[in-house]
């Protein structure tokens, strides 16, 4: 028993000398995570506490929401989005369903589909509007904590959450 323990220790010290742990380098980690899609990001959040806290950073989700924009969003967007619940929520409630719904429609229309496509200003604007409507609806319904409330969407966005019946 002691013998195997010593072996393990030996192996670990050897590893330390030769390997780099990603957990030691936040900026590299963030660079990698920035390139992931939403689903992978969510999976990454389950790896360990450190990754979880990094992934929960809203900046990552902001990057995810807008990195495919042909034109970067205007300056005031961030404060509005943060006030309405943050980018992670924006992605979850609006961006992801809008993009996937429109992508499905396009591919059904016979166009060849690139997995990551640029999405345009109109789609961004629509998502933001829907996000704002959803916030207002939670206000109306009088959720105790309307700001940053629960993970479930208010009713006005439920239509986005259902699968397309094509």
């Amino acid at each position: 028993m002691l013998h195997t323990h010593n072996n393990i220790l030996e192996r670990e010290t050897k590893r330390e000398k030769h390997n780099i742990s990603i957990n030691d380098h936040n900026d590299i980690l963030i660079e990698v995570l920035q390139r992931l899609d939403g689903r992978s990001l969510a999976a990454a959040a389950c790896v360990c506490k450190k990754w979880c806290s990094i992934v929960r950073n809203d900046a990552l989700w902001e990057h995810l929401c807008f990195r495919q924009l042909s034109v970067p969003p205007s300056v005031g967007v961030r404060s509005v989005v943060l006030a309405l619940g943050g980018y992670r929520r924006l992605y979850l409630m609006c961006v992801r369903p809008v993009v996937s719904r429109l992508k499905k429609r396009r591919s059904n229309g016979g166009h060849t589909e690139v997995v990551r496509r640029l999405w345009n200003r109109n789609e961004v604007e629509l998502s933001l509007s829907l996000f704002c409507v959803e916030y207002y609806e939670r206000l109306l319904l009088g959720d105790g904590g309307a700001v940053g409330g629960g993970e479930s969407a208010a009713k006005s966005l439920r239509f986005l959450c259902k699968t397309v019946n094509v």
């Binding site: 509005v80 629509l126 933001l128 509007s129 409507v133 916030y135 207002y136 206000l139 439920r158 259902k162």
Partner: protein, 569 residues
């Protein structure tokens, strides 16, 4: 007694009929000539050996008529037999005319056929297919009374053997004279009982229209009978058509009996907002026009004739917040009806909107006006500021048509609108003509319009797990149907008119059209693309206005206007 008589008839029949079905005649018949005794009492002559098949057909009939078909029918009003004869005749002649045989019963029940030939019998399968409403009478009233009504005519079957095995039609001889047979053309018996629902649906529509016509001609007795008939037909239908038919039938009944509906209390607006895209389309397209009109302004004022829950304004406020150069100061004046419980609903909405405005950083001011009618408001009350200080927009979603119930009201409001000096007026209205002076025309238009709407709702139903919104939306539309059909005079407020009619009115009131741009079209198309079941929705551009429709039928139209005649620039 009866049984004896039947037995005697039976023996007569078997002796005189040719061996059309050798198999049957050679079967050994138990006691009472092979007839099931209980059914005999009802007037059916069914061989005991066929009972299994009969039972199966009865079950199928029940299934086809709906799970609670029996109980529904048990609730139907009991007919006065003397009134029924004419009704039966018309129904039967209709049925017989669809037959291929060419032997049709004219007016009488007493039809006997010549000795030979393809006489027909009422096969249970035929009954179910063509005589849906006949067999329903099985449950109506006491069976013995039925015999009295029908006199064994409809239900008397002279010979044996519901020849279910005979696929080539039913050939039976019957004895002339003693029995009266209803002539039902020999359709090839189908192995499964199928009510041709499409045919039944068409019959439903025709009956509704016939009822409306009767009302138009003030023939209330006929209208009454027809509306009850609709009730029976509806029982065998499901889906959007049945729901629409129920609402129309109920509205017709209210018109016939002069029971006018009370003011509905609960506000179902939000449910309608959630369950289908019509209101969202209205809001997004109107907002786009308003946003474009507000370009460059530092202070803006929106006067909303249709505040309701204020669902239109968050999106506009967000767009203003993110506009280049920052948001203007946003003032909202909301107009709404008095609440039954005297709560200040408008202030509540204003308060929530103010919270939102605060969150996203838009300077916001709200004022609410409670009014029974838009005509009670004039520009002086609204604190209109000079146009160089503040840009004004007027917005009305599904409200202007109500003014048409009082003469002069709409003109007064349009004039007030001009006094408000708006840069833009956005109007969304239902695209249909429900304000014709002739009742029948209104009815037919409304029937088509609301059928289409219910169809579109039904397709949304496929993708929603929460059906409450959908059901409440149907009630919401049902109230409109009731108003169009059952009400008159100042009570009838759902006086929808088409875009063309509104265009004429706006032009003569001194407004010129503002074209909704391509942005509005794109946004609307995208919005609809997001809706599951959205395959059926269509956005159309109509000379600068946008219309949302279901398949080929436009249902609502958004238009934008500015004061000043077309000539002025």
């Amino acid at each position: 007694m009866k049984r004896g008589r039947e037995r005697k008839k039976e023996t007569q029949t078997t002796s005189s009929s040719p061996p059309a079905k050798p198999k049957d005649l050679t079967q050994t018949l138990p006691d009472s000539g092979g007839m099931d005794e209980l059914l005999e009492v009802l007037g059916y002559k069914v061989k005991s050996t066929d009972m299994a098949d009969v039972a199966q057909k009865l079950e199928q009939l029940e299934m086809v008529m709906g799970e609670d078909g029996v109980s529904q029918l048990a609730d139907t009003v009991h007919y006065n037999p003397s009134d029924l004869s004419g009704w039966y005749q018309s129904m039967l002649s209709e049925i017989n005319n669809t037959g291929s045989d060419g032997v049709s019963s004219s007016v009488d029940f007493d039809i006997t056929l010549p000795g030979d030939a393809s006489t027909t019998m009422i096969d249970f399968s035929n009954n179910n297919v063509t005589n849906g409403q006949q067999t329903s009478n099985m449950y109506d009233d006491d069976p013995y009374d039925l015999r009295a009504i029908a006199g064994g005519a409809i239900y008397g079957i002279s010979s044996t053997d519901e020849s279910l095995e005979d696929r080539n039609g039913i050939k039976r001889m019957k004895s002339a004279g003693s029995d009266e047979i209803i002539d039902v053309p020999p359709e090839s018996p189908r192995p499964v009982v199928l009510v041709d629902s499409q045919e039944a649906g068409i019959r439903l529509v025709h009956t509704l229209m016939a009822c409306a016509e009767a009302v138009q001609q003030n023939n209330m007795k006929l209208a009454d009978a027809l509306v009850k008939h609709v009730g029976i037909l509806v029982a065998s239908q499901a889906g959007a058509m049945a729901k629409v038919a129920r609402y129309f039938a109920s509205a017709l009944a209210q018109r016939i009996y002069k029971i006018y509906p009370r003011e509905s209390l609960e506000d179902l607006h939000m449910h309608f907002y959630e369950s289908c895209p019509y209101l969202k389309f209205a809001h997004f397209t109107a907002n786009q026009a308003i946003l474009e009109a507000f370009a460059g302004a530092t202070r803006v004022h929106v006067i909303d004739f249709s505040l309701n829950q204020g669902m239109q304004w968050p999106a506009l406020m967000q767009a203003l917040a993110l506009r280049n150069g920052g948001p203007p100061a946003f003032r909202l004046t909301g107009i709404g009806p008095p609440q039954p419980d005297n709560t200040d609903a408008l202030q509540q909405v204003g308060w929530k909107l103010a919270q939102l405005a605060d969150t996203i950083g838009v300077e916001f001011e709200f004022r609410g006006f409670v009014a029974n009618s838009l005509a009670d408001i004039d520009a002086g009350m609204l604190d209109i500021r000079p146009t160089d200080e503040e840009v004004v927009a007027v917005n009305s979603v599904f409200e202007l048509h109500r003014l048409l119930s009082r003469p002069g009201a709409v003109d007064k409001v349009l004039n007030s609108m001009k006094d408000m000096k708006p840069k833009i007026v956005t109007i969304v209205e239902q695209e249909s003509s429900h304000n014709d002076t002739v009742f029948l025309n209104r009815f037919n238009e409304a029937l088509h319009y609301y059928s289409t709407m219910f169809d579109s709702l039904e397709s949304s139903a496929l993708t929603q797990s929460n059906t409450l919104d959908l059901e409440m939306s149907e009630v919401y539309l049902g109230r409109q149907i009731c108003n169009v059909v059952a009400c008159e005079g100042t009570d009838r407020v759902e006086r929808h008119e088409t875009l063309t009619q509104w265009r004429t009115r706006m032009n003569s009131a001194g407004f010129s059209p503002v074209h909704l741009g391509s942005n509005a079209f794109k946004q609307a198309s995208m919005l609809l693309a997001l809706f599951a079941g959205g395959d059926g929705y269509r956005v159309e551009e109509n000379d600068g206005c946008l219309m949302l429709g279901w398949h080929t039928r436009p249902l609502i139209a958004t238009s934008a206007w500015q004061p000043g005649s077309v000539v002025e620039t």
